[in-house]
């Protein structure tokens, strides 16, 4: 590398320090023996012990995981359908509105999405008697809606890169359109679908604002529990909880990143080999 500049490298180090020092500090203080969250009082793991004994935290975690699993899966199906639609069908009635509807949730402020969803559910309950009560169902429906557009963005981008000739070849060989989708298109874009699911899962697991609007009594997800505690200030047990969440997600993303990178480079290698075999 010839164009290395001290200034740029310094800024890079400064930037990463900025990004990681708060998180590292939080991790260190989760092992703080003192009751005062910001004063160091010796190494201790007692906050982790009290966290593991806290039934409220476990219930909230299980609820959050259930909602995230269901909403990420349905959002992935709907989002993939929308992504394929936008990439493949260039002309159908209402396409402009559809592509707008796919982008709008991405830029809509969460407060507004939350309020509109809540009012919608309240009015629906008034008009048609559904949903009877707010909670698991309403949170899941809201999460599906704003997670699916993230999946759509990823799938659509991947579809535009994909080689259409393979799909056309399958058509020429007599496959029905839906067979082409299941046998050719979906396997080709599978990595994109997988990363879409992962993104939807983490977004659902992380959501505070929209959940806080559409939840009902007794349905506290983990972010909502953290939110209600954090509003009162810094406490050592939240430090411990935060550390566990950050480390889990960090390791998960790292593993997923490594697996996806490996799969991608293997695919490229195989493609290259296949082309060479053709020559």
């Amino acid at each position: 590398m010839t164009r290395r500049s001290t200034f740029l490298i310094t800024m890079l180090c400064f930037g990463f320090a900025f990004l990681y020092i708060p998180i590292l500090s939080m991790i260190v203080y989760s092992f703080n023996g003192s009751r005062l969250a910001t004063v160091w009082g010796g190494f201790s793991t007692k906050w982790y012990v009290s966290l593991f004994q806290n039934q409220q935290v476990w219930d909230a975690l299980i609820l959050s995981l259930q909602i995230a699993l269901i909403s990420a899966s349905i959002a992935t199906i709907l989002g993939t359908m929308a992504g394929i639609t936008l990439a493949r069908f260039t002309k159908f009635r209402g396409r402009t509105l559809f592509s707008g509807l796919v982008i709008a949730p991405l830029v809509m402020p969460e407060v507004i999405t939350g309020i509109s969803m809540l009012v919608f559910f309240i009015l629906m309950a008034d008009w048609v008697g559904w949903p009877g009560s707010r909670g698991f169902t309403t949170i899941t429906l809201a999460h599906i809606t704003f997670c699916m557009v993230f999946v759509t963005t990823i799938v659509q981008a991947r579809m535009l890169q994909a080689d259409r000739a393979i799909e056309e070849a399958a058509m020429d060989l007599g496959s029905r359109p839906w067979q082409v989708m299941f046998d050719v298109t979906l396997p080709v874009i599978f990595p994109a679908i997988l990363s879409g699911w992962l993104l939807a899962f983490t977004i659902s697991l992380d959501d505070v604002v929209i959940s806080s609007f559409v939840t009902g009594p007794g349905n506290t997800t983990l972010p909502l529990l953290v939110w209600s505690k954090v509003k009162l200030g810094v406490t050592p047990d939240i430090n411990a909880l935060a550390t566990l969440m950050v480390v889990t997600v960090g390791l998960g993303v790292l593993a997923a990143g490594i697996i996806l990178t490996r799969a991608e480079s293997r695919r490229l290698r195989e493609e290259r080999l296949a082309f060479r075999a053709n020559d």
């Binding site: 500049s5 930037g15 160091w40 969440m245």
Partner: protein, 304 residues
Amino acid sequence: MDKHPLRRWFDLKGWRALLIGVPYLWLILFFLLPFLIVVVMSVATNTPTAPPFSIGGEHPWVNLGPFSRVFTDSLYLRAFMTSVLNAALTAMLCLLIGYPMALALTRVSRGWRTILLMLVILPFWTSFLLRVYAWMGLMGKNSWFNGLLTDSWNFLVPLDWAVKSVPLMNTNFAVVLVMVYTYLPFMILPLYASLERLDPTLDEAAMDLGSRPHQVFWDVTLPQSIPGIVAGGMLVFIPAAGELVIPTLVGNASQPMIGKIIQDEFGQARDWPMASAVAVALLVLMVIPTMLYSHYQARAEGSK
């Protein structure tokens, strides 16, 4: 081959209609319809019923009161000003920190690049709420970080100005600082994407023609990366303007941002028409930069 008419219909049209229709209907029912309800509610009248609004009862059918209050009441005007200023400042600071980082990322070796890019994205995958919370721990009065800042402040200024601790928590500065922290990856990634595509031979050509490194940057690199700057700026500005969590946790309650106003009008004041009117005004405010952006992008595509 099976020639059952229903099957033929499904192959020709049905599966396609299914593929388009299901996500389309979902978004209409759970996104467009709720949004339209909010728009309609913004011209409704606040009533002490449940739900607390009525529309179309008596003449005049639409109530423009909430909207006129948005543009006249200083509470809303100040909140809009605070939001726009905070968001613009955040976008600017993200650019100042993110640009050198993105540029440096394009110049390190391939192996390092993969690792560092992953490190940029990693915080984005961890909980947003907890990243804000991490700063609450740093900014508090007794924290080591605040102590460090206080000591360096007291060391630098005359004795009369010495402070016990730097007031960080519950200030507007804290809001901007934490927003820069949480949105920095949104700036770095589009900048990196646009800088990575640049042709390094252009730099070399400028150097050969006698430009000094900083001239190369201003004349060659920067103009070519404007699409990335605009994209990153939008990605930071838009969510920052509507931010709710960060001002609630670290902000100054007497200097609220617009997201908090919407929430309070809706929740505490139970004035749904007012909350909707502020929400619609915020959306209009955001639509303007979005339209400028797409206009700009269309022009950039056209000139290629």
